[in-house]
């Protein structure tokens, strides 16, 4: 019998979220990996929505997941655009070099 063990599914999405989070913290080289981590984070959230919509038998969660996917695509497009402009300006996309925020 197919037994919906919510805990296992949630653990999966949660670990995915933390993998992406640590990708943000630990990544010092590449700005693209940062964008990828953000994408992965959004995906894990999406998975969360989908699992809950299946578990609660509610279609709203899956619709929400679709909307998030759209927004994520738009966001990554904007992010890539900024990245390209930044590379033209500075000649590098290493995160270590980005310290303009230092006061």
């Amino acid at each position: 019998m197919f037994f919906l063990d919510l805990f296992k599914f949630l653990f999966f999405s949660f670990s995915l979220f933390f993998i992406s989070l640590s990708g943000i913290f630990l990544n010092r080289r590449n700005l693209i990996i940062l964008l990828m981590s953000i994408e992965l984070m959004l995906l894990s959230i999406n998975l969360n929505f989908i699992f809950f919509s299946v578990f609660l038998d509610d279609i709203l969660g899956q619709i929400f997941a679709l909307i998030i996917l759209t927004i994520a695509a738009a966001e990554s497009a904007i992010g890539l655009a900024i990245l390209v402009v930044y590379y033209r300006l500075k000649g590098t996309i290493a995160i270590e070099q980005i310290n303009l925020m230092k006061g």
């Binding site: 989070l21 943000i24 913290f25 630990l26 990544n27 010092r28 995160i95 270590e96 980005i98 310290n99 303009l100 925020m101 230092k102 006061g103």
Partner: protein, 666 residues
């Protein structure tokens, strides 16, 4: 009228010290003398009104400290005791003012000198007429200050600086006692007013104080502390070392402050507080014991001193001892009688000594004098009369009070009375000895000084002569004149200004002691002077005699090693304690770290650490943001259980302080 004579010396001080240079020396002298003279005349009018007509006057002038119960005010308590003291102080002060015109005539800072003298007179009068302890303390500290200023008058002399600082510091010890006594008095009586405290003091005679496991009678403690005050000011044993050193000051100062008036403040405070002292039997016994000891020990030191003024200074110590033990035996009026008499003949002695020093170009060492009888006959006369009066030669001023002190001490018929009597008798012998030694070495010996001194020598100028002869008259006649006023049986001149225990009848008992005992003081003085004459006439060449008693001689000439004791043990200990512990550990240590320096370090350190977080590195920022969100969520959902708020605060504080103190003091 009462106010005028107190304030005139102060007016003197202000005018002379601020405008003295505009007045010219001569103008300032005239101004100063006029004021002091009027002050003197008015004080005698007051004396007549208060003591003779028995109309005491009490007034409150203005509030000084008005805080809850503490009601110290500027007031005046003009009863017999204070007016007698006032007129005595002003008489001596007037004579010393006149004397110093001549004595300090060569000094460019004469008006400053006069202004200090006047300031001293003002403070002394404030002390004497005070009607509460705070005002008395004001006067007490003021005279201490003036003593410092006047000892240090020739401030370029190193010895004078040292003596002045010594006087100041040793007096602080006594002042601490007085201040503590005032604090305890205020705590007990909730007032510092004399009239209130003295009238209800009997009700507090069974109050006890638990201190370090000792159960002490509270009034005993108060009186002992007051007595510590008078030990300091009146140069009693233990704190007496400042008085001989104070002789570094100009001679008129020694006469006014360190012989006649200021040093008697300690005796005065005991007489003033007689209602307190009469209840405390322990303190009375202690006072008479200590006074008798002082009288003897300082007389023995005086035997071998070579400095002309130091001999007289030790004799002052000794006479103060007499006054103190008379107080301790409850003979307050006899003590005051001796105080007044002593003021006159001691002023005479000092001023004559000043005349000698003046004549010999500031030479004070008696070993370099001698043979002055031919050149200074007038001064010789004065010193001789003063010394006879000091020794208690019959029918001179000193006789009436000094003999009476000894007689009343004998007539107490108790252990401490006899102790004081015999010690007093012994010191009377020594007094005669050193007085005659002084006369011999200075006047009768072969001349030992430099020829230059003897060529230019001159007897006292006119003004000095005037002052000396006036004081000489006082030294001869005053005792006889004032005898009945001070110690007459049954007279009511005291008018309750001194408290007499109804049990105390030693004045009457003194009339019935054996004739032999009555004659004994005179015989002892005679014996002392005869021994002195004998030694100096027949054994002058026998220096070997001195060496047989070498140990005693050194012991006495080193002043019983009091100075060494103070310097080596007490002084150095407190110096080390003061630098090592109270300065380095407490002032620059604990207080600095907990106070300004610690706070500055705490904030600068923690702000440095906070600003280190501001690194500009992106992933650190994101980490911090996520971490703080996590912490926030964790605490709001109580994932971390810090239940006790105080525990959390303590935790934060430990972190902060451990960061803050992580520094080294430069």
């Amino acid at each position: 009228m009462f106010l005028v004579f107190i304030l005139l010396p102060f007016v003197n001080f202000v005018c002379l010290s601020f405008f003295g240079r505009f007045l010219s020396p001569k103008g300032s002298i005239i101004f100063c003398l006029t004021n002091i003279f009027f002050s003197l005349v008015i004080s005698f009018v007051c004396l007549f009104e208060v003591a003779f007509c028995r109309a005491p006057c009490f007034f409150k002038l203005a509030n000084w400290v008005d805080c809850e119960l503490l009601d110290a005010s500027w007031g005046g308590c003009f009863d017999s005791l204070s007016t007698i003291m006032c007129s005595m102080v002003l008489t001596i002060s007037f004579f010393v003012h006149v004397y110093s015109i001549s004595y300090m005539s060569h000094d460019p800072h004469q008006s400053r000198f006069m202004s200090y003298l006047s300031l001293f007179t003002f403070f002394m009068l404030m002390l004497v007429v005070a009607d509460n302890f705070i005002q008395l303390f004001f006067g007490w500290e003021g005279v201490g200050l003036c003593s410092y200023l006047l000892i240090n008058f020739w401030f370029t002399r190193l010895q004078a600086n040292k003596a002045a600082i010594k006087a100041m510091i040793i007096n602080r010890v006594g002042d601490l006692g007085l201040a503590l006594a005032i604090c305890i008095l205020f705590n007990l009586f909730k007032t510092v007013d004399f009239s209130v405290i003295f009238s209800i003091s009997y009700l507090f005679s069974n109050f006890y104080l638990d201190f370090l496991g000792f159960n002490l009678l509270l009034l005993d403690v108060i009186c002992c502390l007051l007595f510590i005050g008078s030990i300091g000011k009146s140069a009693q044993l233990g704190l007496h070392t400042w008085l001989p050193d104070a002789m570094e000051g100009p001679t008129p100062v020694s006469a006014l402050i360190h012989a006649a008036t200021m040093v008697t403040a300690g005796v005065f405070i005991i007489i003033r507080c007689s209602p307190l002292f009469e209840i405390s039997y322990f303190t009375l016994n202690f006072i008479s014991f200590w006074g008798a000891l002082t009288a003897l020990i300082s007389a023995t030191i005086g035997l071998v001193q070579n400095d002309l003024k130091k001999v007289i200074a030790y004799s002052t110590c000794s006479q103060l001892g007499y006054m103190i033990f008379a107080c301790g035996l409850s003979n307050y009026n006899v003590s005051l009688f001796h105080l007044v008499n002593h003021a006159y003949f001691k002023a005479l002695l000092f001023l004559s000594a000043g005349s000698i020093i003046h004549a010999l170009n500031d030479e004070q060492d008696m070993r370099k004098m001698g043979g002055l009888l031919q050149v200074l006959p007038f001064t010789y006369m004065m010193i001789f009369i003063g010394s006879l009066s000091l020794m208690g030669f019959p029918f001179l001023t000193g006789f009436y009070s000094k003999d009476l002190i000894l007689e009343t001490a004998f007539a107490k018929y108790c252990l401490i009375g006899h102790f004081s009597f015999w010690l007093g008798l012994l010191s009377a012998t020594f007094t005669a000895f050193y007085s005659f030694r002084l006369i011999f070495l200075t006047f009768l010996n072969n001349p030992n000084g430099f020829k230059v001194h003897f060529v230019h020598v001159h007897d006292a100028p006119l003004l000095m002569t005037f002052v000396l002869s006036c004081l000489c008259c006082f030294s001869i006649f005053l005792g006889f004149v004032l005898k009945d006023f001070f110690v007459g049986v049954g007279n009511s001149a005291w008018n309750n200004s001194i408290f007499f225990d109804s049990q105390s009848l030693s004045l009457i008992d003194a009339e019935f002691i054996p004739l032999l005992v009555k004659l004994l003081p005179f015989c002892c003085s005679l014996l002392g002077s005869l021994i002195c004459m004998f030694l100096f006439l027949f054994f002058k060449k026998r220096v070997n005699l001195l060496f047989t008693f070498l140990f005693f001689y050194i012991f006495l000439s080193k002043k019983w090693f009091f100075d060494k004791l103070q310097n080596d043990f007490i002084g150095s200990f407190f110096l080390k304690f003061g630098y090592g512990i109270s300065f380095k550990r407490i002032d620059k240590g604990f207080l600095e770290i907990l106070g300004p320096k610690g706070i500055i370090f705490l904030f600068s350190n923690s702000s440095k650490q906070v600003s280190m977080l501001h690194s500009g590195i992106l992933n650190q920022y994101t980490f911090l943001i996520f971490f703080s969100i996590f912490c926030f969520i964790a605490t709001t959902f109580k994932l971390i259980f810090i239940t006790d708020t105080y525990l959390m605060l303590l935790y934060i504080l430990t972190i902060v302080i451990s960061n803050g103190f992580n520094f080294r003091l430069k």
